[in-house]
Symmetry: C2
Subunit: 441 residues, 2 copies
């Protein structure tokens, strides 16, 4: 992408409304724009990151055997009356009447709708286990949306729903998602700690929040420090292996971790003082096992091997991609801007032409831009007429992992400078060597 | 994907509510499910097709220089009061009040919001041309939604918006999208005819609808027959070349084509009778040039080379992916079911195991399933215990382009049958030959 033809509206001033660093940096880098209170547009740079986050979430859901669907945003109130949540949900639910005066709502979550889909088609235990997910917009009419897309009203959620014949099977499904979440967050460059959590309006009695530590987090959390040393389950993980899933779950729940709602002061104090971690965190995922809470009232039953009908055991599993983007920034930035993990960077490389119009600079930049695109790299080419200082500041601000600086002096001798955004290390390389390095050869 | 672990709820009976073949087939193949009137869930098979359609639309938008963003579904009423459309839009606009009693709406289109984004950031003609698009849900509260996702209330739309300094530049932007649309529909396996169209509530005086011919179409259309012979612009198309875009546009508007609203009986009758085409069609895209209709009242101005401020000239360009899926089916099916063009097929190949449990059948199926996945093919493996007749009927119904039938007799001699869904041709091949054929070697 040539920057001269791109749309990346960088703000020079720090926006006043931004209270936390991720919100400030997302506005300054031209990633998002607020359209109404708690409702955002994703501008091109932000959309790229969001897509990469979604792609990783999707890959890990598929790996764990979940199947993607797409449910609509608007739901009929009737469904929620069946489950009993229509009256219980409160003012965060955006209630709507259509032109026929039918009561509708903008889905804050999809337990009812997926249960309705399930009961319409699945009649036998032979079709279980089943886990269906979608990545779809939700709306929760928060009284005080804040921190940009960290707590917005219209937001994207990946929500998965598992269906099993028995509690034991459902717990295995739960542990599969638990494991998938560990992998997902690790691939996003985050170290997330699973913590026993309150179930809130979803219901049930088994629930974990996945929390990443950040000073600006809204949750107060308490945990053992050893989580940082735990291995993340590998790509060879067999999600069908009940013992393997149990082992992952046991390992990651073997030491203390809890949000303030579930905090047990006594258990925490039993940890040696140097191993205690008391901090603030951001919730980036939340999983629930809630048994037959929805299947029972909504009649989602299957015939079991005994020939009788049984309400299915269900769980639900949420991750918020539009929250993950700022969460990643909270965990990875410096005074100059964002530092993207390579897995979600909007571009892999930014090629900075220090003197557009200079024959050697232009030629080398075009060679790198074209060559890297050919090997599948996402390249941003800064071909603008901005001053050098502005170009450097922009490259640092938007956090692309590798910068290639092409200036007239080194270009004349066929060389470029390669800078690592994270470490700040710079190295002078021939164009060919830079190309090989960046192409991963 | 193993069918035994997939979620593809095939209906045996023809659903009563489906009036047209695409609606019937989408329900029977388990692609969609109606959740409320005109509001649908996309089940896994449907979601796969929808994703492939979106990917092609996105590639062609990017190729033509448009840049992807993501605007929210809910909009503030204020924006629409600025343009004057809030009162004008009528009952199809779903109006909503949030918990603070602020008037909102579920966006039926995004001219106002994109104009608001533009005016917030772009101040100089030097940043033009600009074309921003998104693929996002819209809601239009139709009094009579029908034909499944062909005319639904909540639907997906790709809408692009171009910004230019002058009318001439804007007309070039219009012709770029015109050309991109020709390429998009061709890649989706559709022959779309651009027709002069009425501008409706979007406004302006230059507009084309892209229509595909189908008996079940809602529009009455009149055109010259020669469109079927016109070449589609190739992948080497230079969208920056003003003359090239003009040439494509001139060619494709050189012969008569109009919807009934714009029909000119006299001009039509001037066509030799054997070249006249009077038929029904489905609108699959609609593009507009509307000048300063929104930029003027909303103050979207840039400084021109003359140092003065000018309201920008705009166009908008819509394609409905959730309508395209049934449109493709209307154009490509037979009595047994859907016949997907390869570009949007939910799977490239279905491997049908005629006798799961038979050692040779299982081994050959696993070899094909694993081997084809390795070379990047999307494979559905029918490993279920259904009867042969049911398996064949399902494979035909869901319209996967290639079926590989693995039966015990031929498996024993290391052979499989490869069937082309479209032609019905069958060929017996060794496993290795089948693998090479299907892997495209």
């Amino acid at each position: 992408m040539r920057l001269s033809r791109y749309f990346m509206p960088i703000l020079k001033e720090n926006p006043k409304e931004a209270e936390i660093v991720s919100h400030r940096l997302m506005l300054r880098a031209g990633m998002i724009r607020q359209q109404s209170q708690g409702i955002y547009s994703w501008l091109p740079l932000g959309k790229r990151v969001l897509d990469k986050v979604n792609a990783i979430i999707r890959e890990e859901q598929n790996r764990a055997g979940a199947i993607e669907v797409l449910m609509p945003t608007l739901q009929s109130a009737e469904l929620w009356q069946e489950s009993g949540r229509y009256d219980a949900y409160g003012k965060e639910m955006l209630r709507i009447k259509d032109r026929q005066e039918r009561p509708m709502l903008y889905g804050p979550t999809n337990e009812e709708m997926i249960t309705d889909i399930f009961r319409s088609y699945v009649k036998s235990y032979k079709n279980l286990p089943l886990n269906l997910y979608h990545i779809q917009l939700k709306f929760r009419d928060e009284i005080r949306p804040r921190f940009g897309t960290m707590r917005s009203r219209e937001f994207l959620m990946k929500d998965a729903y598992s269906f099993d014949l028995t509690k034991e099977d459902a717990e295995h499904s739960y542990r599969k998602m638990f494991t998938a979440y560990l992998r997902t967050f690790a691939r996003l460059g985050l170290r997330a700690i699973p913590m026993r959590a309150d179930t809130g309006p979803i219901g049930g009695n088994l629930s974990h929040e996945f929390i990443i530590l950040a000073e600006t987090g809204e949750s107060e959390v308490f945990s053992h420090k050893d989580f940082v040393n735990f291995d993340i389950p590998g790509t060879d993980t067999n999600f069908d292996n009940v013992e393997a899933m149990q082992a992952v779950f046991d390992k990651w729940t073997s030491i203390y971790a809890a949000t303030s709602e579930m905090h047990d002061e006594e258990a925490f104090n039993a940890i040696p003082e140097t191993d205690r971690l008391s901090a603030r965190g951001i919730e980036v995922g939340h999983i629930f096992y809630f048994g037959t809470k929805y299947s029972e009232p909504m009649g989602a039953k299957v015939q079991g091997p005994d020939g009788k009908e049984h309400p299915v055991h269900m769980g639900s599993y949420g991750i918020g991609p539009t929250r993950l983007v700022p969460a990643i920034i909270e965990a990875s930035h410096d005074d100059n801007g964002i530092i993207w993990p390579a897995s979600v960077a909007p571009f892999d490389v930014v090629v900075i032409n220090m003197k557009p119009g200079d024959e050697a600079c232009d030629r080398i930049c075009e060679t790198l831009y074209g060559g890297l695109a050919t090997v599948g790299k996402d390249v941003l080419y800064d071909d603008t007429d901005e001053r050098a200082g502005t170009k450097f500041a922009t490259a640092d601000l938007i956090g692309v992992p590798i910068q290639v600086i092409v200036g007239p002096r080194s270009a004349a001798s066929g060389e470029v400078e390669v800078k690592d955004r994270k470490t700040g290390e710079r190295e002078t390389l021939t164009v060919e060597a830079a190309m090989n390095r960046l192409a991963g050869r």
